[in-house]
C-alpha cells in the first residue's frame, strides 16, 4: 500500500467507526462503503447484496444507477460470482470473464456492459453469510492480496453495520436487523420515485438530493425517505 492510499483507508474506517457508534442509517452506511471500495481499490463499480428470508440475494447498494449495470448486478441474483460467494462463504475471483465458463448468462451480460473482471466477497459473521460484495472492473486482472484484504475489511464493516452490534448474540437479532435493512432499502427506492417525479430528475439525482438533505440537516436517511413517501417531509425541501 502506498502512503496516500493508507491515509484514505484510515479515513474510510474512521468514518465508518464514527457512524457505527452514533445513531446511524444502515443504507447510508452501505452506500458509503461501496463508494469507498471504488475510491480505494482498482475497480470501477461496486455493489452490495443481502440475502432475504428465502435466501434470494437483493441489491441494497451500488455505485451506479446505470440501468445496464444494474441489470448485471441483478443477474447476480440468479447466477454469478456474488451468488457463489454468498452460498459458499468464500471469496471468488474472476480475473477475466472471457475465460470464465461458469455463469454463462452473467458473463455475457457483464461483458456487454463493459466489464472484464469481477471479485466477489462474502459478508459473513461467524458461520453465517448474510450477503456479498461485488467488485467490477473494465480491465482484466486479479486484485492484489493487499487489495483483497482491504475489500474484505470493508465487507466486514458492512456486515457489522447491518447487524448493528459487534457481537450478535442470537440468530433472532441477526434476522431482525437483516429484514429491517431490506425494508429500509424499499423505502428509499419509493422516495427516489417520488422525488424523481416531482423534481423532473432521474432516480440517481433523486438519491443524491435525499442524501444531501439528510446530511445537511443531521437526519437519518431512512427517516427523510419515509417522510417523503408518506408526505410528512415536503419534496420541495429535499429537492432544494
Amino acid at each position: 500500500m502506498t502512503e496516500p492510499r493508507e491515509a484514505r483507508l484510515v479515513e474510510a474506517f474512521v468514518r465508518a467507526a464514527d457512524t457505527l457508534v452514533a445513531d446511524y442509517d444502515v443504507v447510508a452506511l452501505l452506500q458509503q462503503l461501496v463508494e469507498d471500495c471504488v475510491a480505494l481499490l482498482p475497480v470501477d463499480s461496486a455493489a452490495l447484496l443481502l440475502g432475504d428470508h428465502r435466501g434470494t440475494l437483493r441489491l441494497v447498494a451500488s455505485t451506479s444507477e446505470d440501468v445496464r449495470l444494474l441489470e448485471v448486478f441483478q443477474l447476480e441474483v440468479d447466477e454469478g460470482p456474488c451468488l457463489d460467494a454468498f452460498t459458499t462463504g468464500r471469496q471468488i475471483a474472476v480475473p477475466d470473464l472471457v475465460d470464465a465458463t461458469s455463469w454463462p448468462a452473467f458473463s455475457t451480460r457483464a461483458q456487454q456492459a463493459g466489464y472484464r473482471s469481477v471479485h466477489a466477497l462474502p459478508m459473513r459473521l461467524r458461520d453465517q453469510v448474510i450477503g456479498a460484495f461485488g467488485l467490477f472492473d473494465t480491465a482484466s486482472g486479479r486484485l492484489e492480496p493487499a487489495d483483497l484484504t482491504v475489500a474484505q475489511a470493508l465487507a466486514d464493516v458492512a456486515t457489522i453495520g447491518v447487524l448493528h452490534q459487534r457481537v450478535v448474540t442470537t440468530s433472532e437479532s441477526l434476522n431482525e436487523q437483516l429484514q429491517t435493512a431490506l425494508n429500509t432499502r424499499i423505502i428509499i427506492e419509493q422516495a427516489k420515485g417520488v422525488l424523481a417525479e416531482r423534481g423532473g430528475i432521474d432516480v440517481e439525482e433523486a438519491f443524491r438530493r435525499l442524501r444531501t438533505h439528510a446530511r445537511r440537516h443531521g437526519l437519518l436517511l431512512t427517516e427523510v425517505a419515509r417522510g417523503v413517501v408518506q408526505g410528512t417531509v415536503p419534496s420541495e425541501d429535499v429537492l432544494g
Binding site: T56, Q179, N183, E189, Q190, K192, G193, V194, A196
Partner: protein, 190 residues
C-alpha cells in the same frame, strides 16, 4: 382492527393495545420484525408495562412481523408460541412469507376492480418479479403523479399489469422510463 386465533394471543394483543408497548409496536416503529423467544425473559426491561399487565400470562414466545412494503405499513402479524423456545430457520422463513402474502392480500382486497371476477388467491403468492427496485421507484412516481398514497399507487401498478397481461416489472420499468403514465380514476380499465 385485530383478529386473534385464540384466547391466549388475544390477551397478549389486548395488553399490547392497552399499554401501548410491546413487540408489535416496536416492529411497526422500527420497520422490521421483533422476535422475542420468551416473554418472561429479557424483555422485562424493554416493555415493563406490558409485562406488568400480563402478569403470570407473560409466557411463551412472541414474534411480531410488520405487514409492510417499504413505507407502506398496514399492520402487524403477531405469532405467539407456547411454550417458549427458539424458532427453526424454516419456521421463520415461512412466517416472513406469510406476512408478505397477508400484506399483498390486504392491499389488493381494498381494490375491488382486481377482486371482481379475478383469482385473487393466485396473485398473492410472493413473486420474484414483483420485488425489484424499479417496482418501488414506480410506486413513488405514481404516488406523486396521481396524488394518492403509496399503498394505492402499488395497487394501481399491479392492477394495470393484471388488466393488460403484463408483468409488474414491465409496467414499473415503463413508468420509470416515462413511457407509461397510469390514468387517474379508480384503477385499470381494460
Amino acid at each position: 382492527m385485530t383478529a386473534c386465533s385464540d384466547g391466549v394471543v388475544a390477551r397478549v394483543e389486548d395488553a399490547q393495545v392497552t399499554t401501548g408497548q410491546g413487540p408489535a409496536h416496536d416492529a411497526l416503529a422500527r420497520g422490521g420484525p421483533v422476535l422475542v423467544t420468551d416473554l418472561a425473559g429479557d424483555p422485562a426491561r424493554r416493555w415493563p408495562a406490558l409485562l406488568a399487565a400480563l402478569g403470570p400470562r407473560a409466557r411463551g414466545g412472541l414474534h411480531a412481523f410488520p405487514l409492510q412494503l417499504g413505507a407502506i405499513r398496514i399492520g402487524v402479524l403477531d405469532l405467539h408460541r407456547s411454550p417458549a423456545g427458539p424458532w427453526e430457520r424454516a419456521a421463520l422463513t415461512e412466517a416472513l412469507t406469510v406476512a408478505e402474502m397477508i400484506t399483498t392480500t390486504l392491499l389488493l382486497s381494498g381494490a375491488s376492480h382486481l377482486a371482481r371476477g379475478a383469482d385473487l388467491g393466485g396473485q398473492v403468492w410472493p413473486d420474484e418479479d414483483a420485488s425489484g427496485r424499479v417496482v418501488h421507484q414506480a410506486t413513488g412516481m405514481v404516488l406523486a403523479q396521481l396524488g394518492i398514497s403509496a399503498g394505492e399507487a402499488y395497487v394501481r401498478l399491479r392492477g394495470h399489469a393484471f388488466a393488460h397481461d403484463l408483468s409488474l416489472s414491465e409496467v414499473a420499468r415503463a413508468v420509470v422510463q416515462r413511457r407509461l403514465q397510469l390514468p387517474p380514476g379508480p384503477g385499470a380499465q381494460p
